[in-house]
Symmetry: C2
Subunit: 137 residues, 2 copies
């Protein structure tokens, strides 16, 4: 059983061709993938709606996480192995390329201290950066 199939059964999801292909597509990319990108990759082999539903389901189960690009379009990337439904997506930086608009999840060493005003309760800090990626430079 490959990794995609394993992830699915592990979360009580049916091992369907669409979901397997969505997951393996993500595994092959360095960046978070958008719905439009997936639709192109499937090239008619899956309905637009099915892809939306697959992405939503995978996110709900904590298998992938969602990032909004600077263009406002949602993109999804595989979570790390140690992610859980309740706590995930914390320990990395989202790098937004201003040219291709792709979003990359990158490791980050240290987190800043943040002092919030009175009455604000912090649950999570996210780092995001923008610039030009590897591919577009």
């Amino acid at each position: 059983m490959d990794r995609s199939a394993h992830l699915l059964s592990e979360h009580g999801l049916k091992n369907t061709p669409v979901r397997r292909k969505v997951l393996s597509f993500m595994e092959e990319r360095k960046h978070a993938v958008s719905h439009a990108e997936l639709e192109g990759a499937f090239n008619g082999d899956a309905d637009r709606v099915t892809l939306y539903r697959a992405l939503n389901t995978l996110e709900e189960k904590g298998i992938v996480h969602k990032v909004l690009g600077r263009d406002g379009i949602a993109r999804y990337a595989l979570c790390q192995d140690d992610c859980t439904v309740h706590r995930h997506d914390d320990q990395h930086l989202h790098f937004h390329c201003n040219t291709c608009m792709n979003v990359f999840c990158l490791a980050v060493d240290d987190y800043p201290e943040v002092n919030l005003p009175a009455g604000f309760m912090l649950s999570k800090i996210q780092l995001s950066a923008e610039g030009i990626c590897d591919n577009c430079k």
Copy 2:
């Protein structure tokens, strides 16, 4: 001449009632305002489209900056006085409230060091945090 009128003329924009009201509405709020919120505030006194255009124009001129909420909806906040068209929006943290979905621009003291992989060029780091705001706690 009030601050709104000043900001407009300073950037070569006409001092119209809609723009003045958009700006003073933002001045009164602690959080970034969405198009829907503005539309509610205008209550028919300005067309939906005019508000979209006003927000886009203000953003292009560097008078306000745009933040995407966790809900994917764009929100806008006044830039600090020292912002320019080419460099602005750097020195603060966007706090996303998970209850009301509002976004607050907060001051931040120190920025983290970020090491990017080879080939990535950094132009800007943004900090964002989520939790519960002042108002919703």
